[in-house]
């Protein structure tokens, strides 16, 4: 078997040396299998659409994107990151969906001084004390959506809110972001098992607690379960969530039960700018479905890399120049105006969205208000960069 | 009369409403060959399971060599010198005959919590195992896997395994079950050769063998011992004849 490995290594070596032409290599690790695969696919599709728009090039140079499936397993993500950095010697890393996978893989990229552009997860430590010159996020900090939700609910005058989130640090972080802006009382605060199926118990508790509104953060399948069950319970209490629970793929899958729900996000289908209009129209044309924020982030990640490579005229070996180019973020984002803070996280608007039926009978988010304008994250002060 | 080695006092076991053994009191003296007979369903298997430690009695007690062993596990009984052979052949099928024996010898020669030295280097284990194989007439098949042996040889190996643990008492659970007349004869001779050296508790269907081998016989019927005595006494016992032997003779 060792021999097999050796052959494998030799084969790869030959392949690698044969393709030494001038081009930009991107290592794209994402979750394509398992329940989390729906997010990875969205990001990948967004990224690929951007490449189509740039004619398969990044900054004018031919792009080679190596797409790998991390199976939503941290050790696999770590392994793949190692492979992309050491074997394929990529110029950029991107693609990872989940925070725990990025935690595992980040040292492989950042330790080797390879730029990593996060198209999704934005851990607060990387925005604060552990900010890194090689790390950029085109998305948000993990508690930004809940900050916006908290602000919105505070502004709307809710006084007694019930909060529900999964029992893991990510869940607690999100709730802390919420608490930063919502200052009223809490009718209850429940942390559920990660991957919980049935929320009847919690919904009964919410009914009994007589809260005037509910804020929930339940990513992925948990959120789908919760929404379906919430709908059937016939609750009259207003339900608020983060954009992650109301992305376009979820709306299409859950349908009716999402109608009317309010949620906060930094992007929406209906944002009125040229880049977004083109993105939404072409995405639907290419993939036959409406894009979601994950896809927009994938698209933006590619466009950011494209702009930075163009700005350094393809000289990606000059890391200092490349970093300045990335920081300048000289591209047209789907969310409109885009700029990085000094911690390499965006300063951006957050919107209140509501699920409505569009004229074709599809469930979509409609932007109803702007909650934050040019909002920086809460951690930037701790970043010494 | 000599010392009592194994004794049960009012042993009782029920399954739901069914009484399998009901107040069984039995005494096996050191050095004797004591046979236990009884028709099917008399409660022999249940009694054996309790003696061997596979079943816990509902009431009563079991004493061995002066110790109350009622609550002892099977391996503790074995360690005290109470060995059994199984009615249904119960061997280690993936081992050779010699390895089976060596493993049995190993259980009584020092700790088995040794992790480094290869067993195959411990020649004394295998010498002792060969010795026992010779004594039961199995030395020719020593290196064969157990799975390839005939039924009669399995029964002999069963006996050998029990002997290898240096027992004081041998509980022989139907050693003649399912073997032909010729092998049966060999087995009787083998057991006769053990008499005097070991205390034997023989549970057997083959009446001929029982009356040839046993010093004393106990008869179990419907979960009770209805008679105990020498072969002649049992033959003469009217109750036994009615309940059991008559039925056998007719059959």
């Amino acid at each position: 078997m060792k021999k097999k490995l050796l052959c494998l290594a030799l084969a790869c070596f030959c392949a690698a040396s044969a393709l030494a032409a001038e081009k930009i290599k991107v290592g794209f690790i994402t979750t394509l299998s398992g329940p989390g695969g729906v997010l990875g696919v969205a990001i990948r599709d967004g990224f690929n659409l951007a490449l189509e728009h740039t004619g398969g090039k990044l900054g004018g140079l031919p792009a080679e994107v190596i797409i790998e499936d991390d199976q939503q397993k941290p050790d696999v993500a770590k392994q793949l990151a190692d492979k992309l950095v050491k074997r394929d010697k990529v110029d950029f890393g991107t693609g990872i969906v989940f925070q725990n996978l990025l935690q595992a893989a980040q040292s492989s990229f950042l330790g080797a001084e390879t730029f990593y552009v996060s198209p999704n997860t934005g851990p607060s430590d990387l925005a604060g004390a552990n900010c890194n010159p090689y790390f950029f996020a085109v998305s948000w900090v993990s508690d930004s959506y809940s900050e916006a939700s908290g602000k919105n609910m505070q502004d709307k005058g809710y006084k007694n809110v019930f909060v529900i989130a999964p029992n893991y640090p990510g869940g607690k972080d999100v709730v802390n972001g919420f608490k930063r802006y919502y200052k009223g009382a809490y009718a209850g605060e429940v942390y559920t098992k990660l991957g919980q199926l049935d929320y009847a118990v919690e919904i009964s508790q919410i009914r009994a607690a007589k809260a005037d509104a509910v804020f929930f953060f339940l990513p992925g399948g948990m959120g789908v379960n919760f929404l379906k069950q919430w709908h059937q319970a016939g609750m009259g209490v207003p339900l608020f969530g983060t954009g992650w629970s109301f992305d376009q793929d979820t709306l299409a899958a859950v349908g009716e039960p999402t109608l009317g729900a309010l949620n906060a996000a930094h992007w929406n289908l209906d944002l009125d700018n040229a880049a977004n209009k083109k993105f939404v129209a072409d995405f639907e044309k290419k993939y036959g479905r409406l894009p979601n924020e994950y896809a927009s982030q994938g698209y933006d990640a590619a466009m950011l890399i494209d702009a930075a490579v163009r700005d350094v005229k393809g000289k990606v070996e000059d890391k200092a120049a490349l970093r300045r180019a990335l920081e300048a973020a000289n591209f047209k984002s789907t969310r409109g105006a885009f700029r990085f803070n000094k911690n390499h996280f965006p300063v951006q608007n957050y919107y209140l969205r509501q699920v409505v039926k569009d004229d074709k009978g599809r469930f979509v988010n409609k932007t109803v208000a702007t909650i934050f304008t040019d909002h920086p994250d809460a951690y930037v002060a701790a970043c010494k960069m | 009369m000599s010392e009592i080695l194994l004794e049960t006092r009012a042993l009782r076991k029920r399954y739901g409403g069914l009484v399998a053994t009901d107040s069984v009191s039995l005494a096996v003296h050191r050095g004797e060959c004591h046979a236990l007979i009884g028709p099917n369903g008399a409660g022999k298997s249940t009694l054996i399971a309790q003696l061997a430690g596979a079943l816990v009695p509902d009431a009563g007690s079991i004493h061995f060599a002066g110790q109350n062993i009622t609550g002892f596990s099977a391996h503790r009984r074995a360690a005290l010198g109470f060995a059994r052979s199984f009615q249904i052949t119960s061997l280690l099928p993936n081992f050779t005959v010699l390895e089976n024996l060596a493993l049995a010898v190993q259980s009584v020669s020092g700790s088995s919590f040794r992790f480094w030295r290869a067993v195959n280097d411990e020649t004394e284990l295998f010498e002792r195992a060969r010795e026992i194989l010779r004594s039961v007439g199995l030395e020719d098949v020593a290196t064969r896997p157990v799975g390839s042996l005939g039924h009669g040889e399995h029964r002999q190996l069963e006996l050998a395994l029990a002997l290898a643990t240096r027992p004081q008492l041998l509980l022989l659970d139907e050693p003649m079950a399912g073997i032909g007349p010729e092998e049966s004869e060999r087995m009787v001779a083998l057991i006769a050769g053990l008499k005097g050296r070991y205390t034997l508790l023989l549970v057997e269907h083959d009446m001929d063998a029982v009356f040839r081998l046993a010093d004393r016989v106990s008869v179990l019927l419907a979960g009770r011992v209805i008679a105990t005595g020498t072969a002649a006494e049992i033959r003469a016992n009217g109750e036994v004849r009615r309940a059991y032997l008559g039925e056998e003779e007719n059959a």
Binding site: L32, S33, G34, P35, G37, V38, V41, N167, V190, Y191, T192, K193, L194, G195, L197, D198, A200, V201, E202, S204, Q205, R207, A208, G220, G221, V224, N225, K228, Q229, H231, Q232, A233, G234, D249, T250, A252, A253, V254, G255, E256, P257, R289 | -
Partner: protein
């Protein structure tokens, strides 16, 4: 805690338990009779949910989708039994684990290839959406009441099937003594295929009943599979009655664990400790229950074999 909330939580426990029972019933039959550890049971559940969702969408009727989906899944189950699983009955548990683990991989990936990664829509029929006023102060979702009803009906039907019919007699014989079932003359292979079909059908029924409550997506099977196994093991392998009692026990313990442990601990411990310990303890209550049961009764509550 107020009386209506308590009553509602009891209903929740009952409903969650019956939901598990739907899956565990088929699993315990297959486990007990064929002595087959079928890790792919969850895949049949997923397949059932996907088929019911697709067919309900295609026909526009939940009931029609349900009927067709259950029949299709039962047929697929039987085909699977004949093609693959039949060869595993006489193998050891390890080979079964490996083979059915492989089936999970194949089923998940095939489903993804056929239906895509996006979850499927399967919603409650309009007539059953919303909630019902049960009695003073208690409203309960109509669809969950349906789950309770279906769960009880399946339990009754299985009880009848097992206790009163010839098939049931064979099944009982098979669960407690395989050799006996073998010599009873009936073609045992046919019996096994039939039982597997019933098990697969129950999976699809569970998928249809749970689809409107849970996300219909790839991987949904593994999430619930472990709970179903826990149910079967607590109840005693091969025992329908055990699966029923085990499922209700799990439903109640899990529900009350989640409802009371966190608040209860807050009264006993400092808030900081309680906030960490409470939800964690609630998450593992089912497993603690299982360990407790197996500690006292290593063969489960109702061992089918003597």
């Amino acid at each position: 805690m107020s009386w209506p909330l308590f009553a509602e939580q009891c209903l929740n426990g009952l409903q969650f338990g019956l939901m598990l029972f739907l899956l565990a019933a088929g699993l315990t039959l297959i486990f007990g009779i064929m002595d087959l550890i079928n890790l792919a049971h969850g895949s049949l559940y997923m397949l059932g949910a996907y088929l019911v969702a697709s067919l309900a969408q295609a026909t526009g009727s939940f009931a029609l989708g349900l009927a067709l989906g259950v029949a299709a899944t039962a047929a697929i189950g039987m085909a699977l039994e004949i093609a693959v699983l039949r060869g595993l009955y006489r193998r050891d548990h390890l080979s079964q684990v490996l083979a059915t683990f492989a089936l999970i991989m194949i089923a998940n990936e095939t489903t993804r290839a056929l239906w895509g990664v996006q979850p499927l829509v399967l919603n409650v029929p309009a007539a059953l959406s919303g909630s019902v006023q049960l009695f003073a102060g208690i409203r309960y979702p109509a669809f969950r009441l349906l789950i309770i009803a279906v769960g009880l009906a399946v339990a009754l039907a299985l009880y009848f099937l097992v206790a009163r019919t010839r098939l049931g007699m064979l099944v009982r014989a098979g669960a407690s003594n395989r050799e006996m079932a073998m010599v009873m003359g009936t073609d045992i292979r046919w019996l096994f295929t039939a039982v597997f079909g019933v098990g697969a059908g129950l999976c699809a029924l569970a998928g249809a009943m749970l689809g409107p409550l849970l996300a219909v997506q790839v991987g949904m099977g593994e999430n619930i599979l472990i709970l179903a196994f826990v149910t079967v093991v607590i109840g005693g392998i091969g025992s329908i009655r055990g699966a029923f009692v085990g499922a209700l026990l799990i439903g109640i313990v899990d529900t009350f664990g989640r409802a009371f442990i966190p608040t209860g601990l807050r009264a006993l411990l400092s808030p900081a400790v309680a906030d960490v310990a409470g939800p964690s303890l609630a998450s593992i209550s089912i497993y603690l229950l299982m360990v407790g049961v197996l500690f006292w009764k290593p063969q489960g509550l109702f061992p089918a074999r003597g």
